[in-house]
């Protein structure tokens, strides 16, 4: 984990905003540190929304978009700092992906993905327990809009107000989707 010396002499983790400032100046090593720092939550978020196979591609696209838009990042106006900004970009990438594929193709992909999950090559999944696999499938069965709000909330830690703003829906709608999604998951996991 990257460290920087503070004035008191103790070491501390360099903040995301500090790394972004370095990235804005062209320091790609700072970008690499950010990729490493957010790999797990961002990859999981993308996997839950777009499936394992697309998650890799979307993750790379997200970070390239971060690089393209680094100059526009302003921690004071980014609504909570780097993490919500990053997930905002990732969410836009997922939405682009969904739009470009279309409903019919997405349905086919979904079926294929479910079949792939049962195949031995998904090493990560193979190590999961039966409960984990059931939960993954239950999440996949959620409607896209419910799944998106629920996963965005869980992995990004964004406020509900920010999520509603990002998705362009009323706050009540966003909260209603979260509620319905949690009830549905509970039912599916019984």
């Amino acid at each position: 984990m990257p460290v920087s010396e503070t004035q008191s002499g103790t070491s501390a983790i360099e903040s995301d905003e500090s790394l972004m400032r370095r990235l804005q100046k062209g320091d790609t090593a700072a970008g690499e540190l950010l990729v490493e720092r957010y790999f797990q939550p961002l990859m999981r978020y993308l996997m839950r929304l777009a499936g394992n196979q697309m998650a890799d591609e979307l993750l790379q696209q997200t970070w390239l978009s971060v690089l393209d838009n680094a100059a526009k990042f302003d921690p004071r106006s980014a609504g909570g700092g780097f993490k919500p900004w990053l997930f905002r970009i990732a969410t836009n990438k997922v939405n682009d992906h969904w739009r470009s594929r279309g409903r019919e193709r997405s349905a086919k992909e979904g079926l294929k993905r479910i079949a792939d999950d049962e195949m031995p090559h998904a090493g990560f999944r193979l190590e999961g327990t039966e409960q984990q696999l059931r939960l993954v499938k239950a999440i996949e069965q959620l409607p896209e809009n419910q799944k998106q709000v629920l996963m965005l909330r869980y992995y990004s830690g964004m406020k509900f107000v920010e999520i509603a703003e990002l998705l362009g829906c009323p706050l009540n709608t966003a909260l209603g989707r979260v509620h319905k999604a949690m009830i549905r998951l509970k039912e599916l996991m019984k």
């Binding site: 690499e32 984990q132 939960l135 869980y154 706050l171 009540n172 979260v178 509620h179 949690m182």
Partner: protein, 207 residues
């Protein structure tokens, strides 16, 4: 908060700690008084903790291959950055030499100039103005010009010579005088040619 929240939304916001202090205080008072509302809150709390617990189980193991994936993305970012720099170097931003508003004005001026140029080269077709120009009596215009336009030009030139150059004026006067004498001589000849039975003064002289 601008939007009016319904009851479940308000409870979810409360659980998430996203209500304002005033709203939280108000809700807590209602929770004390309303047992059904309190039960719903507990139900939502249970639902939320159940979901969080399941997700923690799902994500308890790290995704393998992080180092490779990070290295691949970092490499892609470096290549992308280099490509972006190359594109910016090869195609620098075009800077306008003049203000933006100058271009439409220049275009309009060009159109006007083209029109004026075209108009200036058009042949003059209006003859009515020719009739209004007074041709001085005794000028050579009737004898030397063949069209109305030339007559007018000749008359104007004659007038300008008369006004500005005394020597030329005298020459023109003498020319006009000669012209009138020639016209007087030619007139009976013309009449005799038209009337063969009339005696011509020229023939008389020959006799």
């Amino acid at each position: 908060m601008v939007e009016q929240l319904d009851q479940t939304s308000e409870l979810l916001m409360y659980l998430a700690g996203e209500l304002s202090h005033r709203q939280s205080m108000s809700l807590e008072k209602r929770l004390v008084a309303d047992s059904a509302l309190a039960r719903e809150l507990e139900s939502l709390r249970g639902l939320q903790s159940n979901f969080d617990a399941q997700m923690q189980v799902l994500d308890e193991k790290r995704i393998p291959g992080q180092a490779m994936a990070v290295a691949r993305i970092a490499r892609a970012m470096r290549v992308h950055g280099v490509n972006q720099e190359a594109v910016e170097t090869l195609a620098p931003r075009r800077v306008l030499r003049m203000p933006v508003w100058a271009y439409p004005i220049a275009a309009a001026a060009a159109v006007v100039l083209v029109y004026v140029g075209w108009w200036a080269h058009q042949p003059e077709t209006h003859v009515t103005s020719v009739a209004q120009v007074s041709v001085p009596p005794g000028s050579l215009s009737t004898a030397r010009t063949s069209s109305d336009q030339e007559q007018v030009m000749f008359a104007e030139l004659t007038e300008s010579f008369r006004d500005h150059n005394p020597t030329q004026r005298r020459s023109l006067d003498s020319l006009a005088h000669v012209e009138s004498e020639l016209a007087a001589i030619a007139s009976p000849m013309h009449d005799s040619l038209n009337d063969p039975f009339n005696n011509s003064p020229i023939l008389d002289n020959e006799e």
